[in-house]
């Protein structure tokens, strides 16, 4: 397959979900992981050096073509997207679930100091968090964690890519301005 790179590109182009290397290997029926990886790396470099309108994003354990963030205003204009907004409360709750998972509703509420049922439900409906199961405690409360969709939406390869809370705090102390 001498045009491996072009074929991989056509797959990336036509896929609506991030493609894993394993998936690419199985579609192309090849064993050579390195060859697939080389094709991806080489494509990513081309998109950068040629300043294409899209780039190769490593996200949620796979690879996906995405439009370059610099051009967001034009694409938004074309799509006429209204922002699917998440309130500050929802973002806080999401951050807690992301960093403290597996987490109970009571843990979230303990940290935020307010009822968080509604925001948890919003996040569930949006598919950003998911129910991991139940905890063996009285009332068998549900345990929450983030979903794959969360990684896709927030452009994360994997959860470990999130900065640690300690790093964030040190950064945060450098900005005295109020976040609101």
């Amino acid at each position: 397959m001498d045009n491996l790179k072009a074929i991989v590109e056509s797959l990336l182009f036509a896929s609506d979900i991030p493609l894993t290397i394993d998936k690419i290997k199985s579609i192309l029926d090849i064993q050579d992981r390195q060859a697939a990886l080389n094709a991806l790396t080489s494509l990513a470099q081309e998109y950068e050096s040629q300043k294409r309108g899209f780039f190769l994003s490593e996200v949620a354990g796979g690879y996906q073509l995405r439009t370059r963030p610099e051009y967001r205003q034009w694409v938004r204009r074309m799509k006429q997207t209204r922002p699917a907004r998440l309130s500050r409360a929802a973002m806080e709750t999401l951050a807690i679930v992301a960093y403290k998972q597996p987490v109970l509703r009571s843990d979230v509420e303990h940290l935020r100091g307010v009822d968080s049922g509604g925001t948890l439900r919003t996040l569930l409906e949006r598919g950003l968090i998911r129910v991991l199961g139940r905890k063996r405690l009285p009332g068998r409360p549900m345990v929450y964690g983030t979903s794959k969709r969360f990684l896709e939406i927030f452009d994360l390869k994997e959860l470990s890519e999130l900065p640690t809370l300690k790093d964030l705090q040190e950064l945060g102390e450098a900005w005295p301005n109020d976040s609101t």
């Binding site: 995405r66 963030p69 409360a89 999401l94 951050a95 307010v114 009822d115 999130l162």
Partner: protein, 244 residues
């Protein structure tokens, strides 16, 4: 959507301004530019109460959580005022720690939330090609395909059905009936592989009283649904359960 906005416009909660008492506290600490590890508790408490008074004057609901925090702050303040016994001073914990620890943790998560918002969000900063191009859902799905459905979608689908049908069909599913269902599933597995099983065998591994009850309820349920037959051997007295 517009309707909701109209409603909320006239019903302002303090929670719409601040996400909660912790958020308000963070705001005050930051505004005063004080170190969270050395909060002038009397000043901050006064400012906090001042805020609540202002909110009340503006006819804004002050939720219970805000009052709880006010009480906590007042309590810390009073403990700070108590003269410390010199001999006990070394062991005595700074009363402010009661608030500093959660504050620190909350701040970290606030930074985390901020950090998330700065990332390139899908469908807002970056876009992918939409799914609609090309062929529609392929008909020849193999049974071993992955299925992209979340647990929430499942329960959401069920909730919609329950809302749609009349209340007499409404079956409030509690944890107990669910665990009975689980046991039914296990017994069905057992019968599928072995055809029949004795009563004793089914109960053998049940460790707790709760589990025995669940198993018993499961058997009753299965008998009622006529999935199983329960037979007793005349001479030996052994009770066997068969596939229905």
């Amino acid at each position: 959507m517009e309707q909701i906005q109209d409603q909320t416009m006239y019903r302002v909660h303090l929670g719409d301004v601040f996400d909660g008492p912790m958020d308000l506290l963070v705001h005050l600490v930051k505004k005063s530019e004080v170190d969270i590890y050395d909060i002038p508790i009397a000043v901050i408490t006064e400012q906090y109460l001042e805020y609540l008074r202002l909110m009340t004057a503006l006819n804004i609901d002050v939720a219970g959580e805000f009052l709880v925090m006010a009480a906590t702050l007042a309590h810390i303040k009073s403990r700070m005022l108590l003269p410390t016994d010199l001999e006990q001073e070394e062991e005595a914990e700074d009363p402010r720690l009661e608030i500093v620890r959660p504050l620190e943790e909350y701040l970290q998560l606030k930074y985390a939330a901020e950090d998330l918002t700065t990332r390139d969000r899908l469908d807002w900063d970056v876009f992918v090609r939409s799914a609609s191009n090309g062929s529609p859902e392929s008909a020849d799905e193999k049974p071993d395909d992955l299925i992209q459905v979340s647990l929430f979608e499942l329960i959401d689908a069920f909730e919609k059905i329950v809302k749609r049908v009349s209340p007499e069909h409404f079956l409030n599913i509690t944890v107990d009936t669910i665990s009975v269902k689980g046991r039914i599933s296990e017994i069905a597995d057992l019968l599928e592989s072995r055809g029949s099983v004795t009563f004793e065998e089914i109960f053998e591994e049940q460790a707790t009283k709760g589990q025995i009850i669940v198993t018993f309820l499961a058997i009753l349920e299965m008998a009622k649904a006529q999935i199983i037959r329960i037979m007793q051997h005349v001479s030996s007295g052994i009770i066997r359960i068969f596939n229905g």
